[in-house]
Amino acid sequence: MHEVAPINPWVALAYLASGILFIMALRGLSSPASSRRGNRFGILGMTIAVVTTLLTHVPRTADGALDAISIAEVLGAIGIGAVIGIVMARRIAMTAMPQLVAAFHSLVGLAAVAVAAAAYLNPSAFHIADAAGQIFAVSRIEMGLGIAIGAITFSGSVIAFLKLNGNMSGSPIMLPGRHVINLATLAGILGLIGYFLTDQSPWVFWTITALSFVIGFLLIIPIGGADMPVVVSMLNSYSGWAAAAMGFTLGNTAMIITGALVGSSGAILSYIMCRAMNRSFLSVIAGGFGADASAAAGGSKEQRPWKPGSADDAAFLMSQAENVIIVPGYGMAVAQAQHALREMADQLKKEGVNVKYAIHPVAGRMPGHMNVLLAEANVPYDEVFELEDINGEFAQADVAFVIGANDVTNPAAKTDKTSPIYGMPVLDVEKAKTVLFVKRSMGGVGYAGVDNDVFYMDQTMMLLGDAKKMADDIVKALSGGGH
């Protein structure tokens, strides 16, 4: 019963093919034009992996006959998942993508935990145990790592989901002595995985699982809302490493290649996000950023003069302009202002104004969030530019129209060494002839809790109000009066 099953070369090749198709799926994302074909490659790769597994692991009863009930159960499970998944994908609002991705990550994590637990309970089915039921040493390590990473991914993603979805406050929750607790828990998990090598008793396995659920929770609660792009990317990476660890256990190339791809993808995205905030990965993980934001805002602050403006003023200024650069931020997503914004841009284009969009890498709650929202509103992707590609153009722009962004435009990041955001790359909106700044109120500050000098500059006009309503009003003013 326990001999290692001979590996059919066609089966191994099928898994390899699906691994390569996954690489091509990511490769397709190098441009929007090839991206949809890439996604089809991904779907094909997954189909090959699933069908191969189904054909090589047909459930059989003790006498070798097909086990129809088990087959129906497996296909039923796939069907249930398919319906839930497709309904979620169809219904989700684009502004809620970060939550959806966090929810999906938690499922990968929990699935990895379930698979590792199943392998632990029935090791012979996975060919990872000898005749006496002793699990191979290397498999114990792989399994221990798999369940630990899977459990961390699960509980971490659940917290990230609750924060992004607003079920839980986005502000950091700081436990006293949390670094000591976290390090001790991590050391405990690693120690137990080592001990698991010598003792495969259930208590060891389940304690690793339980501690990993706890550490995932502890790691994410002190991280604030503005750092969520890093967290979501990091959990993306973890879900990949969890899949890779299970791939080692099963000796499955499709899982290993995918795990490595997803693991590196998430790690690179985390790095890009950290760099865009000029923060080290460790300082993000340590958490607490933005915790004193409200305190700083409430403090005694000198009142500086600023210039209010109306939708009509903004419409007039922009219709007279030659070049307008729109800078959207998370506030635009919250107000669902992307469609109104695009209408505004359309009106301006009709009047011969050259309109471009400038996107900061950490605008929004996940990497690329603003780009998706603008794409949803039918903004052509060749009008949307990344920070490094457009920053030089603000000096030639007549109007910089900032909507729902704040910290990413703050010049203090370039000049004020004492500012918490010093060193962060920012969009040079202050170089434009006029800055129109759409903001809910003058009281609020960005997530970093710092005031923005742009508000008080001579060429700045503050457009206070809801982002969507403001954009709608500007559209009305533009289409009504014209010049």
């Binding site: 690489i23 991904g42 692991h57 998944g85 499922l107 699935a111 996975f126 879900s239 690329g368």
Partner: protein, 93 residues
């Protein structure tokens, strides 16, 4: 397969991942996350093996639960990626 062969594949795949992901345009970073999420659910392979194996009912039910979760991710992840990618359009000239 022995550990060293598997580990070699893993390391090489990490390098491939590194270069492929850096070539992804920042405008598509959200679809990148949703599609990586979908493909990491290839963990369904392990779930299918567990749910098809005889011997341990608990293991089988854990496997079936994992099949449901991974399927949600696979179908949901690819579908939402497709939906997003369909929205990216070039300027009409």
């Amino acid at each position: 397969m022995d550990f060293i062969s598997i580990f070699s594949i893993f390391l090489l795949a990490c390098f491939v991942g590194y270069f492929v992901v850096w070539s992804v345009t920042p405008a598509l970073h959200t679809p990148l996350m949703s599609v990586t999420n979908a493909i990491s659910s290839v963990i369904i392979v392990g779930a299918l093996i567990a749910s098809a194996a005889a011997g341990s009912p608990v293991s089988k039910w854990l496997g079936l639960a994992a099949v449901v979760m991974a399927s949600v991710n696979i179908f949901g992840g690819f579908a939402v990626t497709e939906r997003m990618l369909a929205m990216y359009k070039k300027k009409e000239r």
